[in-house]
């Protein structure tokens, strides 16, 4: 669920060789528009509503499946396409499988802990599991792919 309003590149590989593997920049929040946040809020609300409907109609077990609906992914790449930012869209596409690995860890963590720990602790640990698995998978992908990209750049 990201946004890169200031990026209008058309390339497919947005990682620079000297770019840090991971970091943070609070100033990037300035580029967020109320309209974009509204669209994302609406997509989250619709996805939750659909999951709730399925749960009411068919029970919690079937209703749990749409909790991993790719609705936010679709909304994100559509927003990036409207912004004509192909590089950012490619980031979403390549990042989604990594985040999905983390989602599996999130769900397993909830299954394992929810009847043993308080709700807040369970959800906090599950979110940490998502972040940890996603970050490790991301770093592995970057470490494997970066040398190849550097070789391609030097060949060119």
């Amino acid at each position: 669920v990201t946004s890169t309003a200031d990026r209008t590149d058309t390339g497919t590989d947005s990682s620079a060789p000297d770019e840090p593997l991971a970091g943070a920049s609070v100033s990037a929040l300035r580029g967020l528009s109320a309209g974009e946040l509204g669209i994302r809020f609406a997509m989250g609300a619709v996805a939750s509503f659909v999951a709730g409907l399925v749960a009411q109609a068919y029970g919690a077990r079937l209703g749990g499946i749409p909790l991993a609906l790719p609705a936010i992914f679709v909304a994100s790449i559509t927003l990036e396409q409207r912004r004509n930012s192909r590089g950012a869209m490619q980031d979403q596409v390549t990042g989604a499988p990594i985040g999905a690995l983390g989602m599996i860890a999130f769900a397993f963590t909830v299954v394992a802990l929810i009847e043993r720990l308080p709700l807040v602790a369970t959800l906090a640990l599950a979110t940490l599991a998502w972040a940890a698995v996603s970050l490790v998978a991301y770093l592995v992908v970057q470490l494997v792919c970066r040398p190849r990209n550097a070789e391609d750049d030097s060949d060119a």
């Binding site: 669920v1 990201t2 946004s3 890169t4 990026r7 058309t10 947005s14 593997l21 991971a22 943070a24 920049s25 990037a28 929040l29 967020l32 994302r40 997509m43 989250g44 939750s48 999951a51 709730g52 409907l53 009411q56 029970g59 919690a60 077990r61 079937l62 749990g64 499946i65 749409p66 909790l67 991993a68 936010i72 679709v74 790449i77 559509t78 950012a88 869209m89 980031d91 979403q92 596409v93 390549t94 990042g95 989604a96 499988p97 985040g99 999905a100 983390g102 989602m103 599996i104 999130f106 769900a107 397993f108 909830v110 299954v111 929810i114 709700l119 959800l123 599950a126 998502w130 991301y138």
Partner: protein, 115 residues
């Protein structure tokens, strides 16, 4: 609790969850790392909380078991989306269609096999 009110609460909590993860994704650098947030548990956190608070821990555990299947489907669907993205010339439509259909197919097969 009235079922429609419960759905409304879930929708509101889900929307707020997506906003929260969007803000974090925006702060995270580089952009490639923030792409991971496309598959964040932004909807699941709020929905599971509402399920547990309205019903029971056990109901939440049952929903999370369903979410395991949905997450596996999401992994397969996002890989297919990435494969479609390469020749798709930057259009979100074929990626979205391929991702959605693959998610439905995998989730359906998994649900039928497991249950």
């Amino acid at each position: 609790v009235d079922p429609w009110l419960l759905l409304l609460v879930k929708a509101l909590v889900g929307g707020v969850g997506v906003i929260a993860f969007t803000l974090v994704a925006r702060v995270v650098k580089p952009e490639r790392l923030s792409g991971v947030f496309c598959a964040a548990p932004s909807v699941a956190v709020g929905s599971l909380a509402v399920v547990v608070l309205n019903a029971s821990d056990h109901e939440g555990m049952v929903a999370a078991k369903g979410m395991v299947l949905g997450s596996i489907a999401l992994l397969g669907a996002s890989i297919v989306g990435a494969l479609v993205a390469r020749p798709a010339d930057g259009s979100a439509v074929p990626i979205s269609i391929a991702t959605g259909i693959t998610w439905l197919a995998i989730a359906g097969v998994l649900a039928a096999v497991v249950w």
